[in-house]
Symmetry: C2
Subunit: 344 residues, 2 copies
Amino acid sequence: MSPEEANSLAQGVLAGERLALARALTQVENDTPAGRLILSETFPHTGRAHRIGVTGSPGTGKSSLVNLLARHFRQPPAGQAPRRVAVVAVDPSSPFTGGAILGDRIRMRDLTGDPGVFIRSMATRGSLGGLASATAGVVQLFDAAGFDVVLIETVGAGQAEVDIARLAHTTLVVEAPGLGDDIQAIKAGILEIADVLVINKADHPGVDGTERALRSMLEMAHPVRHEMHHHGQIETLHAYAAAPDPNAPLWIPPVLRTIATEGMGMPELMAAIARHKDYLQQSGDWQRRERFRLQAELDTLLQEALVARWRETVSAGVYQQAVDDLLRRKVSPHQAVSQLIGPA
Amino acid sequence: MSPEEANSLAQGVLAGERLALARALTQVENDTPAGRLILSETFPHTGRAHRIGVTGSPGTGKSSLVNLLARHFRQPPAGQAPRRVAVVAVDPSSPFTGGAILGDRIRMRDLTGDPGVFIRSMATRGSLGGLASATAGVVQLFDAAGFDVVLIETVGAGQAEVDIARLAHTTLVVEAPGLGDDIQAIKAGILEIADVLVINKADHPGVDGTERALRSMLEMAHPVRHEMHHHGQIETLHAYAAAPDPNAPLWIPPVLRTIATEGMGMPELMAAIARHKDYLQQSGDWQRRERFRLQAELDTLLQEALVARWRETVSAGVYQQAVDDLLRRKVSPHQAVSQLIGPA
């Protein structure tokens, strides 16, 4: 695709043209030069959408919940304007188990045909790191295209989900009764990123026990609840600058019960989401999360660029020789680095 | 700790001194300068240990299985020499749920007191990336200290486990009947790294269904089974050089049933592990995995060093200005990179 075509797609995205958006999404997902150009050109027009992450294990009914959330944003109570909604469904599990999410999409049929809704499913292509970065690009495009709300749906439990949840302003963690105590342990990391906890399928047996378990885990998680974790090699590059204001309002993640199939609990959930958005804006957390997210994106790009530039200065033969020397234990990894880029 | 003390600890590790090893492990876990020095000094003496990864969800009984594997390596059938065994138990879940692994450790009491066994539990400290790198260092120390077998136990399902499993020559994936089909989907990514599949608690109901599910998932996974995934920013730095020999023997991951609490299936499991080690050595995969692992380690260190050196050339103020410009949408992330490190 020529830069002129990419530019024309970017203009189409900004004008809210559906076909241009679909084509631009494909370029961004595949990380093409045109996709990167489109991201750069649309970037100045971003920062308005409310990004809502929805994560949870398979079996919690989180896809039905996302479906219902989208409908509620489209058909709000009297006196409120309908919001334009994009849904990004991400399945970071293996390519050969991509079936589940396609099945989920079928449930969203009643939303398609509504021009105020756009649904995009993303499956793993190559690395998990690549998926998180492609998802970030897709969310940015929806933001630039003027969607008021972007729902980012992920399967819970892994680091990829945490990375993707980091894109969100508001993160909903969906649980369901009866998935077993064993599984709760795995999910502990997810709790740290929860702004709202939803117990879906609340008519299933064991709901009281699930709520008790969640509340006690939340209490334990309290000290680290609002800390933003930023991992990876570059994490110490520059510490997160703005310290939270001790007088700022505090957000205690509510625990809500829903039955998505019957719409039970949805008004309360919508209200909690609206309250969290208000909280973010009043406390300064919206701005802090934006800064944190953009800084993380910048750090990743810097890291890639620094490695790419170094690559141009070294021949494959010299690099392979270093790996050979490592294998023969002639040098240690730190010594190999010194040989390749000079002493520190 | 002075470089002299670090050097003395390194010598103690190489001499197999238990106290020196314990102190060196602490330095390596905390990524201190002394720890890095110890890793460099002991590196030439590594490459002999058989690294066996054992991963699976909570509730599969994998800790009991690891316990039993250690005992079988210590007390082999007549005619075989006992092996020195190190156990590295890694729990990448949240810090505030570190209790489970401590409980598991109690079950290993019968192994402690045996000088041929060394057990080390690692919990998350800071980032997941840091945990994988600390684990790599700990495994290297055990290797240098002359342990014949290093068992690396992780809780299954996340990217961190996959990163840690990548340290192993042989990876056992442990399942149990009755953990639910929903959970199977999450584990699909783990199957790709399995060299041996173990269905523990094989006396529980549903074992036939679990075995059927695993075998059918294995068949689907077949095309990517032996591909080594190397993700992250640096993945395209240098492609993995040696193509697999089409005439080399092929490894089909066996599916075995065990009841760890009764020792049922252990001789078969030990035999499968021995067969896999033979396969690795005969096929050239042992060497290939070593090369792949060392190259990944080198790439990570290179990336860190390049970023650290760039950091020294830029003031915090200039960097923060770039982040501010991003927040105000005055520049795009790619433009900010060009401003910071010059045009590509």
